[in-house]
């Protein structure tokens, strides 16, 4: 039981980290960034290149890969979202253009790395097992949980306490009110993309380390889970995404333990369905409509 809970928290921490970035952009722009999963994948490959080819230690490679992901986010915003801003159909056109950018990113990865699974070299992370009560976890798993929690806490602090955080929340609530307050809305949206993609990239590197497998389609498996998590948590809600991320991880692990792995996604999405029947806005969704 304790072992399953630990595994659930471990998987859930990666889902949550992926989803907070996803939901941050949704909260600010009201648009799903469907290239988020491709940034997740490219950051994992970037870390792999830095470790395997540039022979950097992981502690140096990971921040660089995360920075790379953040810059990809800015590129994505410039190419896929900003040109469409202000159009009446920007929600759906942004969805399509981000899907296109995600596909382009995947195609680039396929060209460079091929379709096969790539792995980190042996010894990238010390292989040590730690016992906690009756359960055991690898040092890597514990580090992944810790890094995810710290990054999510930093994001929460940034949004609650800093000037940029207030500006991001202002743009999320009403771009017009933000403009009236002298906020450079374009710059704040670019910053939100940088943060969102950095977190998505961090989730990608941690996911690749956790399962020691990276392929150009690795983001696909997390994409739908991430979407489920942000809907379950309430679209645009950061705490909602954190709670729902851990919840999904736990549900998955206990489903596999109880019914076998073939029921994993079925039960997860059934729970999503039931929660939405009871709470159509998700666990912590905002009731207030966003202003134009």
């Amino acid at each position: 039981m304790g072992q399953q809970a630990l595994n659930g928290v471990f998987v859930g921490s990666i889902y949550a980290l992926f989803a907070v970035g996803y939901t941050l952009v949704f909260g600010v722009l009201d648009i799903l960034n469907l290239a988020h999963q491709a940034v997740f994948m490219l950051a994992a490959f970037a870390a792999l290149l830095l470790v395997a080819d540039a022979h950097l230690p992981l502690w140096a490679a990971m921040p660089l890969a995360v920075l790379f992901a953040g810059l990809l986010g800015i590129l994505l915003e410039r190419l896929a979202f900003r040109p469409l801003r202000g159009r009446a159909d920007s929600n759906i056109s942004g969805l399509i253009s981000s899907l296109a950018m995600g596909t382009v990113f995947e195609a680039i990865a396929l060209q460079i790395f091929g379709p096969d699974t790539s792995r980190f070299p042996h010894g990238t992370f010390p292989d040590r097992l730690i016992r906690i009560g009756g359960a055991s976890a690898s040092l890597l798993q514990l580090c992944i949980i810790a890094i995810s929690v710290v990054l999510m806490a930093l994001l929460t602090l940034l949004l609650a306490r800093t000037r940029l955080g207030r500006q991001i929340r202002a743009v999320a609530e009403s771009p017009r009110a933000a403009r009236i307050l002298g906020v450079n809305v374009d710059r704040v949206i670019a910053a939100a993309f940088f943060i969102s993609s950095s977190l998505g990239g961090a989730a990608g590197v941690l996911f690749a380390l956790a399962f020691n497998s990276i392929s150009p389609d690795v983001g696909r498996s997390v994409e739908l889970k991430g979407l489920a998590v942000i809907i379950l948590g309430g679209m645009g809600s950061i705490p909602g995404a954190v709670i729902a991320g851990f919840a999904l991880g736990l549900i998955e692990v206990f489903t596999v333990a109880g019914f076998g792995s073939s029921y994993r996604d079925a039960v997860s999405f059934a729970v999503l369905f039931v929660v939405l029947l009871a709470r159509p806005r998700g666990l912590l969704g905002q009731a207030a409509a966003r202003e134009a």
Partner: protein, 245 residues
Amino acid sequence: MTALLEVRDLRVRYGHVEAVRGLSFSVGAGEMVALIGPNGAGKSSTLNAIAGLVRPASGSVKLQGRELVGAPAHATMAAGIVLVPEGRAILGRMSVEENLVMGAEARPWPAGREEAQAAVEQQFARFPSLQRRRHALAGALSGGEQQMLAIARGLLARPVILLLDEPSMGLAPQLVQQIFQMIADIHRAGTTILLVEQNARMALKTAQNAFVLERGEIALHGPAPQLAADPRVQAAYLGGDVEAR
């Protein structure tokens, strides 16, 4: 009086509709000027164009001699044009205090963060009803409190000129009096104000000079008391008898 804000031949178009048609006027330093007129006369469009929320089709907007026409809102704000818009644009999901802090963060303070924080506290001292609800969500405030919050937030941006768009809209008569008293106090303390109002009576009572806008053009202008006595203004905007009310 030297012109602080100078608007020349301003034109604003929405598609084929010309909302503002070659408007020219100026506001002197320390002055309070009112723009009055019927619905759709182009009053709010004029303020929005000055504040950079709407891009004018042509014309010139100069603040302290500096051309700002077509500049985005964050640039006009940086120059010191502060708009308290129609509908107030309160951030309802943020606390009252956070709304004020955002006002204080809109333009840099000479002595930095402490000075900004002290200014926020000053506004709380000035508006005890906001002080009492400092940690409440701004969306939960009453209409009058939200208007006070919007004005306090605008003042925290240290306006070179304060643009007030329909500050009395949707408020009970008693509150309207209170808000106009507040505006008069702010002006007396040295702030230059450009006021747009449907409530022509109160606007002409409070401002020094006024412009009457009709269909995007200036129909009349002059010192506010003189306009208030003008039979055309009385008939159209003051219900015929200015003294009786």
